[in-house]
Symmetry: C2
Subunit: 368 residues, 2 copies
């Protein structure tokens, strides 16, 4: 191919990119949700406010967006302290719950259904309980035995559906194998789906121009962590390890709404290390300890570790501790920023759950 | 890092991949939909039959799956003749419609709402009409003017929702800008969403373990074209250019359900040519003529061109012709297989729409 031809293709791409530039984003949406983060609890903008109108069509108008805030990646090694950021967010939520209680005499309510004795699930539920009570959200728990019937789970869910003091209901996953997760989750009222796992919420998270009622908490927690840490997402190569409904899928969809170039690695991926090494932002949720080592990382990459595998440790309070997917020691010598496990994404997930529950209660009470 | 350590990570990956291998796929599902393609109209398996149960969990059982059919890529230049394959599929549909008519005296019905005078939209609708009538599907059309009200479109949609002889309703996109596409599409009965654009269908397409009622026609058409051409998808690096709700998004989601490693390129992607050049399977739906030239392709890549941009051509019947995103001449010297425009994905899309409409009618009449 001649040099002229190569240039002309480059020019074509530039024109196409410019045409669809985020300069065409609604500056109003940005000014509410990004420019004045101090006025809202989260920095994360709504997915729809990120959309580029008239994507791929010609002749789209390019409004002035010189006011759009740019996030820049700090090129020094940095620990992404999810624990501290989550604490800040929880403080904001606590203030809002207090204001709600003082104004209308109501508080948000969060209900959890826990089936079986799975140790990590018990830890997660405990964290949700502590988190809720700390910010003034009423917490309700139904525990069912490992060998309970599908009917028992459905009945518990239905009763929370009908309970007006419940604004968010969670079915703690995974369920024992004899229970049909999809069927049970399908019974959950959309308005109380604070985990964001209903197909309507996932569909609206995926689709341009649509707004999910709730965004899955871990995905939202990862993005909020990046935004609060000053890390730019738009245009970055993001690689997500894992395509689970709970973490990998929604995280990849949300990154896409933020205009990252996303690749998902899964167990059928060939040369996963090579693909991971291309990532500016690597989010791993495989649940395989030490899967991601130094050779999987591009120097300067941002590493977000969602993996939490329990390993026996009699020194710990509950006889075990959680470890991530990333070899933290060696990765922190290569990455420009990295989340620890614990204290990284975990607390952010809980904070987002509390945030979603607050939002649900606000909608329900028409409280602004 | 020492050699031993590198090896141990490689071993870890192999174990992880094996644990989640598609060897754990339900062989029953495969035997119905893949092993005996002659008994069904399409080769495409249902997304759920592709799922790996207990993904990412340990100790998953690995049933015998030595019977799973393997698709192998033919390493010779090949034109993916969508026109011929679509004709074959339409013949199968025609036989089924005939059998339905003879058995229960009913035929499937497809309704289209066309707003405005957009030339390409008129062509697409014309193709759907011709395709429907050819296979015996009853075709209904409502045309509305460019400046019609949202109410008029909603009323047309509602009337098709209530019409028992309509099994599929399509709102021809794009709509004029003054109409709220999301709001109007939200009114469409899920059971008649043969375009598969309802958030519930997109959500269920995205989520592991879920089955959408209908899969968007272009996405399904691309996959069917690959499968019928003997091209393996699992484990391949697939790059989709474009993330539109209509093509890019559902195609990437469906490729993911087929266990490809998927990356989406969009206008904010940096070095798109470099990313495209990594693709074993490149599906482009940017709507930008000649965007994808030789330098964007890995030798031996499979190229599927969904782009259709109208260019003036007085020699053509309607005064214009459609051209794709790919420089066909030079790409066909590098790719191992390529779709032409026209005659590639276009006819497959129409065939999938007729297929979805037939399936909808079968469900409605409980006809098996």
């Amino acid at each position: 191919m001649s040099t002229t031809r190569v240039q002309s293709v480059a020019v074509l791409w530039q024109m196409w990119s410019r045409k669809n530039s985020v300069t065409s984003l609604s500056s109003r949406a940005f000014s509410t949700s990004l420019m004045n983060p101090s006025t809202s609890i989260l920095m994360s903008p709504s997915p729809m406010s990120l959309d580029c109108p008239n994507l791929w069509t010609s002749g789209s108008v390019q409004p002035d967006c010189s006011s759009i805030q740019k996030y820049t990646c700090k090129h020094v090694a940095q620990i992404l302290n999810g624990k501290a950021i989550a604490e800040e967010i929880r403080s904001g939520i606590a203030l809002e719950v207090k204001r709600m209680k003082e104004s209308i005499g109501q508080v948000p309510g969060l209900a959890v259904i826990l089936v079986g004795q799975r140790r990590e699930s018990q830890t997660y539920v405990r964290n949700k309980k502590i988190g809720s009570e700390e910010v003034g959200i009423k917490f309700m728990l139904t525990t069912l035995s490992d060998n309970c019937t599908e009917n028992e789970v459905c009945n518990a869910l239905q009763s929370y559906n009908e309970n007006p003091s419940v604004h968010g209901t969670i079915l703690q996953l995974p369920l024992p194998r004899h229970l049909d997760e999809g069927k049970i989750l399908g019974l959950l009222t959309l308005e109380k789906d604070v985990d964001g796992f209903h197909p309507v919420n996932i569909g609206n998270l995926a689709m341009l121009g649509r707004e999910p009622l709730f965004i899955p908490c871990t995905a939202k927690g990862c993005i909020e962590l990046l935004l609060r840490s000053g890390i730019e997402i738009m245009g970055k190569k993001a690689v997500v390890i894992g395509k689970s409904n709970v973490v990998g899928l929604p995280t990849s969809l949300l990154l896409q709404r933020h205009h990252a170039t996303v690749t998902i690695i899964h167990p059928h991926t060939k040369n996963p290390d090579k693909i991971a090494r291309e990532a500016d932002i690597l989010i791993t949720a495989a649940g395989v300890p030490n899967l991601v080592c130094r050779s999987w990382l591009k120097p300067g990459a941002i590493v977000v570790d969602v993996g939490t595998t329990p390993v026996e440790d009699p020194k710990c309070e509950h006889g075990y501790r959680l470890i991530g997917d990333v070899c933290f020691e060696e990765a922190s010598k290569v990455a420009s920023a990295i989340t620890p496990v614990p204290g990284g994404v975990g607390p952010m997930t809980v904070a987002m759950l509390l945030y979603n529950t607050l939002q649900s209660a606000k909608l329900s009470f028409k409280f602004t």
